[in-house]
Amino acid sequence: MDFTYDDEQQALREAVRGLLASAYADHETRRRTAASADGFDRGLWGRLAEMGILGLPFSEDDGGVGAGPVEIGIVCQELGRVLAPEPYLAGVVHAGGLVAAVGSPEQKADLLGRLSAGEVVLAAADTSPGGRWSARADGVRASADGGSWTLDGVADPVVGGGAADVLVVTAALPGGDGAGTGVFLVDASAAAVTAYAAADLTRAASVRFDGSAATPLGEPARDLSASIATISDLTRIMGANQALGVMQSQVRATTDYLKSRKQFGVTLNTFQALTFRAADMYVELQLAHSMVDWATMTIAGGDPAVVADAADRVGLQVSRAGRHIGQEAIQLHGGIGMTAEYAVGVGTAHLEVLDQWLGNGPHHLRRLAERVDDHGLVEAL
C-alpha cells in the first residue's frame, strides 16, 4: 500500500505541468483558445502527442505507450489545474478507450496509432438528448444491409464532437430491445455536426445521423454494453482526477486571495469566519484527493465490478467536494469570482460540466444506495 508517485511519475507530472503552464500561463489564453472554432490548441495537442501523452493509455502494439492508470490520472489532474480545454478526457480516454476495448486488432493499430500521433481526433457519441449515463443506446439505431451498416438518430451532447475527425458511436443493434448496443465508427463528414459551447466554454456538439455510413468496431452485431459501461467508469475516474486538479487550483487561489485582498483596512484572512471556510475547503479537498488516488489504483486490478464501484464512490465524493469547493471559491472571492476573466468561476463551471457529463452526485449515490446491503463494512484495501 503506497500513495506516493515514483520518480518516473513525478517526472511525467513535472513535464506535463511545465508544458501546460507555458501554454496557459494566463487565463486569458485559455479563454481565447476555448472560444476558437476547434475549442482547443492544435499546436499544444501536437506537442502532447510528441511527448507520448496522447498514447499513454494504449498498448505499444497499437502505437501507444502502454502506461498505467496512475500516469493517465496525473495528466488529467494537470489538465484540470489550468482548465485546459484540450479534449483529452473525451477524445483519448473515452473515445480512444472504447476503440481499445472493443476494436479489432487492425482497427486498434490503425486508429489508436494515429490518435497517439495526433493525426486524428476522436469523440465518443454515446448520449441521447435527455439521456442519463446509460450504456444502452437509445438515441441512435444501427441498420445492416448485407455487410454494410448505417446509423440514424441523434447523439447530444457529444463532448469534443465539433473538432472530431472520427466519431465513436454507440447505437442500438437491429432486432429490437434484446439485441443490445454496438459501437461504430463514423467519419465526421458523414454526419451533421452542430458544435456549441458548454457552460465552461469547452466545446460539445449535437450530432445527427441520417443513413450515415458506419463501420462496426470489433465483431459486428454483438452486444457491447458491458464494455461500454466499463469505459464510462474508467472515464469517470479520470474525470475525477481532472476535477481534483481544478479543486487544487481553487483552494490555492482562494487562500492566496484571502491573504492579499484588503477590506476594512485589513487583509481578509483577519476574519475567522472566512479562514474557517477555507479550512473546510481544504478538508474536502484532502478527502477527495484520497478517494481519487484510491479509485485510480483500483483500475490496475482489472476487475470491472471493482472499477464500477470505485467510479460510483469517487463520483459521489468528487461531486460533493466540487460543489462545496467551487461555490466557496466564488463566494470568498466576492464579485471578482463572478467574472469570466477570472479562473475561479470558470473552474466551478468546469466541475459541473464534468459531473453532469460523466455522472453527478445523486446518480452515483443512487447506485451506491442500491448496493448498500451487499456488504457489512466497506473495505478500503
Binding site: M1, D2, F3, T4, Y5, D6, Q9, V70, T255, L258, K259, N269, Q272, T275, F276, A278, A279, D280, Y282, V283, Q286, L287, A288, H289, S290, M291, D293, W294, T296, M297, T298, A300, G301, R313, L316, Q317, L365, R366, L368, A369, E370, R371, V372, D373, G376, L377, V378, A380, L381
Partner: protein, 383 residues
C-alpha cells in the same frame, strides 16, 4: 502508487486480526460491539491482556515496551483493534502521559511509572482544563508554589474524564506568574490519594458520570514529580496534545457501528432515504480511512502534512453523524433511554439517544473542531 498491502503488511494485518479476537475476552468485546458501558475492571483486564502480548503500547520506545512498527503497521493495529471490538488502551496512559514520560521524563520517572502505565497498574487522569481555561489552555490558574523540596498545589481542574477511577493525575500548573503566560506553566504528576485532592462528579446530558471536577487544597507534591524543567509545561502539553489527536479519528469504530446498525435496523433499510444516508456515510468513512492511510504512508504530495487535524475534524463529524442516524432509526423506541432492563424495547434503540447526546463531546474535547479549523487555516494554509 500501489493499492495492495505488501505481503509482509498483509500478514501483519492477519496476525493482528487473529490476536485481537483471541487475546481479549469475548464478553468484553461484545460489550464494546453492542455499545454498552465498560466497567473499570473490564478496561484494566483488557489492557493487561494486550500488554502481555506487546499490543498495548506499540508506539512507545522499544525499551519501554514499544514495538518498532512502521506508521502503517500502527494504523493497522489500531483499525483491527476497533474492528474486533477491543477497547483501545486507556488514552491517558497509552497515548498521553506514557509518550511524554518516555520523551521528557527522568530515568527514575521512567522506571517508576512506565511499566505500570503500560500495564494499567496506575490509572492516569488528565488534569489540564479549568473552568476559565478550556480552548485557551494557557490561561490556567491552578498554582504550584515551591516549599522546600516540595510543590504546594492549589486550584481547580474540571472535565477530568474518569477521574473517579484515577490513581494519579498529570496536571498543568502555574509555577511562575511573572513571565508570559505560556512560559509560567509546568507539568506535575500528582498522586490522587494525596491529602487535599478531592474529586467531585459532574453529571452529563446522557445521564452518565464520566467527568469530574478535581480540587487541590494545599496538596504537597514531591519535587521529583515535576516533568521536565519548571516552565517547560507548555512545550510538553503541545507534544502531548499532538499525540492526542493522532488516532483520535475513530474510523474503525465508526465503520463498525454503521455496519452493526445495518443489521440491527435491517427492516428500515428498505426505505430508500435510509439507504442513501447509509451509502453516503459509508462513502465518507471510506474517504476518511483512505486519508488516514495517505497520512501514514507519508504521501503529503509536497504540501504541508494534512495530518491529524483533518482526521479529527471529519472523524468526529462522522462519528456523530452515525449516532444521529441510529437515533432516527430508533425513533419512538429511543424514548425508553432510561427505562428498566425489562423494557420491551431493543437495547440498541434504547442506547441511541444517550449515545447521540454523549458523542456531542467528540467535537469539543481534544482540541475542539473550531480549534482544528484554526490549525488547518493557520498552519497548513498559512492564513
Amino acid at each position: 502508487m500501489q493499492l495492495e498491502l505488501s505481503p509482509a503488511d498483509a500478514e501483519f494485518r492477519n496476525r493482528m486480526r487473529e490476536l485481537f479476537t483471541t487475546v481479549v475476552p469475548q464478553e468484553i468485546r461484545d460489550t464494546v460491539l453492542e455499545g454498552r458501558h465498560l466497567t473499570r475492571d473490564q478496561i484494566v483486564e483488557s489492557q493487561r491482556a494486550l500488554n502481555a502480548e506487546g499490543l498495548a503500547v506499540p508506539h512507545w520506545p522499544v525499551e519501554w515496551g514499544g514495538q518498532d512498527w512502521t506508521d502503517l503497521q500502527r494504523h493497522l493495529w489500531h483499525e483491527e483493534m476497533q474492528r474486533a471490538g477491543v477497547p483501545t488502551p486507556l488514552a491517558f496512559n497509552a497515548s498521553m502521559i506514557g509518550p511524554v514520560l518516555a520523551h521528557f521524563g527522568t530515568q527514575e520517572q521512567k522506571e517508576r511509572f512506565l511499566p505500570a502505565t503500560a500495564n494499567l497498574d496506575i490509572w492516569w487522569s488528565q488534569g489540564f482544563s479549568e473552568p476559565d481555561a478550556g480552548s485557551d489552555l494557557a490561561g490556567l490558574r491552578t498554582s504550584a508554589v515551591r516549599d522546600g523540596d516540595d510543590w504546594v498545589v492549589n486550584g481547580q481542574k474540571t472535565w477530568t474524564t474518569l477521574g473517579q477511577h484515577g490513581d494519579w493525575i498529570f496536571t498543568l500548573v502555574r509555577t511562575d506568574t511573572e513571565v508570559k503566560k505560556q512560559a509560567g506553566i509546568s507539568m506535575l504528576l500528582v498522586d490522587m490519594s494525596s491529602p487535599g485532592v478531592e474529586v467531585r462528579p459532574i453529571e452529563l446530558i446522557d445521564g452518565g458520570h464520566e467527568v469530574n471536577e478535581v480540587w487541590f487544597s494545599d496538596v504537597r507534591v514531591p519535587g521529583d514529580l515535576i516533568v521536565g524543567e519548571p516552565g517547560a509545561g507548555w512545550t510538553i502539553a503541545k507534544f502531548l496534545l499532538g499525540n492526542e489527536r493522532v488516532g483520535v479519528a475513530p474510523v474503525g469504530a465508526t465503520k463498525r457501528a454503521l455496519a452493526t446498525l445495518k443489521t440491527t435496523a435491517a427492516a428500515q433499510l428498505e426505505d430508500p432515504l435510509v439507504r442513501a444516508r447509509v451509502a453516503e456515510l459509508e462513502n465518507e468513512l471510506l474517504a476518511l480511512e483512505l486519508t488516514a492511510l495517505r497520512v501514514v504512508a507519508h504521501s503529503s504530495d509536497g504540501e504541508p502534512h494534512p495530518a491529524s487535524s483533518v482526521l479529527k475534524l471529519r472523524g468526529t463529524e462522522l462519528q456523530q453523524a452515525v449516532s444521529e442516524l441510529a437515533l432516527d432509526l430508533a425513533g419512538p423506541a429511543s424514548l425508553a433511554a432510561r427505562a428498566d432492563d425489562d423494557s420491551p424495547q431493543e437495547g440498541w434503540a434504547r442506547r441511541a439517544a444517550p449515545t447521540y447526546l454523549n458523542l456531542r463531546k467528540a467535537s469539543i474535547y481534544g482540541g475542539s473542531n473550531e480549534i482544528q479549523r484554526q490549525i488547518i487555516s493557520r498552519t497548513i494554509l498559512g492564513l
